[in-house]
Symmetry: C2
Subunit: 189 residues, 2 copies
DNA sequence: ACCTGAACACCGTTCAAGT
DNA sequence: ACCTGAACACCGTTCAAGT
């Protein structure tokens, strides 16, 4: 008699993500995940190959959600400059809500758990599209890379507590978006 | 009879850093480090408290070396713009040479192994000093944060293989430095 | 004062046996 | 078809005994 599944791949990945955000990567053990979905450790291997690919699956879920959040925010504004600003604000908001999951996207210390690089890269697609409107097609890719690199760097330093030299982090963020958008749109040909 | 030390704290930290760069964080086991310095696993605990603080010590060594590299590069140029450009180039070069060690500085997934935040923040000090010359003291901190965030974001995406949408990474780097320096120095008051 | 082997706890993973 | 307990390998860590 076939036994009905008491859990699912999606539930396992979601549970792993919740443990990761509530604690940290060391707390993300197979036993803890099993406990949360209501089975024993060995049963997880019916749904995911091993811990490394479970971590990767969490990372890919994050990348995909992050891209959706950016896309939605950017789509709400008509003006390209306002749209890019909204995209970056949404980026930062998502990362604040999922700091540990976001950390997975650039945790190249654990190669087996790295999310698909093309998927991570695709997070920038909506930014490139809006940049085309702001700076034209020739330098849109480089301008988008500059903005995304800045945004990633900013939130990642913010999460790491690297802003210790005083001053307001909020105003540094506002200053940064303005400076980068100004810098990329005033590029000499 | 007191037994002469067959290894040292510095040697243990150096060995850990070498293993980390040659492989990855999972390969950085106490047994592997012990092997490399020529003792057995338990002896390491005479030199470092545990694996987490060993990892942290490696991270702090990296932060300190990185700051020195930036400081030297920046000091070689008289003009502030050229100095900041040189600092960022040195930053990138150091990270390329120590990608996994650099990853430790922002691996906030493992809180016990996080380097001292004030030390990480101090990496930006030479940048702030040069920014004062470029943009004046009022916005120097925010301008420095913008440049460092961009630089960190750029190299970290580069290492993560996130630049997958085509184009040259080198020219994106050159475009980025120029855009950020232009953006921060043309800030409206 | 530092090093060692033995021992322990914990965790990822496999597998044969259950339903 | 999925779940389970038992078992194994591996790793961090402790500790009593060596020199």
């Amino acid at each position: 008699m076939p036994a009905p599944s008491r859990t699912s791949r999606a539930a396992v990945i979601a549970a792993a993500g919740e443990i990761l955000e509530a604690a940290d990567l060391e707390a993300l053990t197979m036993a803890a995940v099993a406990d949360r979905v209501g089975v024993r450790g060995p049963s997880l291997y019916k749904h995911v190959a091993n811990r490394s690919v479970l971590i990767r699956a969490v990372a890919e879920q994050v990348a995909s959600d992050l891209r959706d959040a950016i896309e939605r925010a950017a789509g709400r504004q008509r003006d390209p400059r306002a749209s890019l600003r909204a995209a970056v604000v949404a980026y930062r908001r998502y990362v604040h809500a999922h700091p540990n999951g976001y950390g997975l996207l650039f945790a190249h210390l654990l190669p087996d758990s790295m999310p698909d690089a093309a998927l991570v890269a695709s997070v920038g697609v909506p930014i490139v599209r809006r940049m085309e409107e702001l700076v034209g097609p020739e330098s849109a890719l480089e301008a988008a890379r500059t903005l995304v690199a800045w945004a990633h760097g900013f939130v990642s330093m913010e999460l790491g507590g690297a802003f210790r030299l005083g001053g307001s982090v909020e105003s540094a963020f506002a200053f940064g978006v303005d400076a980068v958008l100004r810098g990329v749109s005033e590029a000499p040909d």
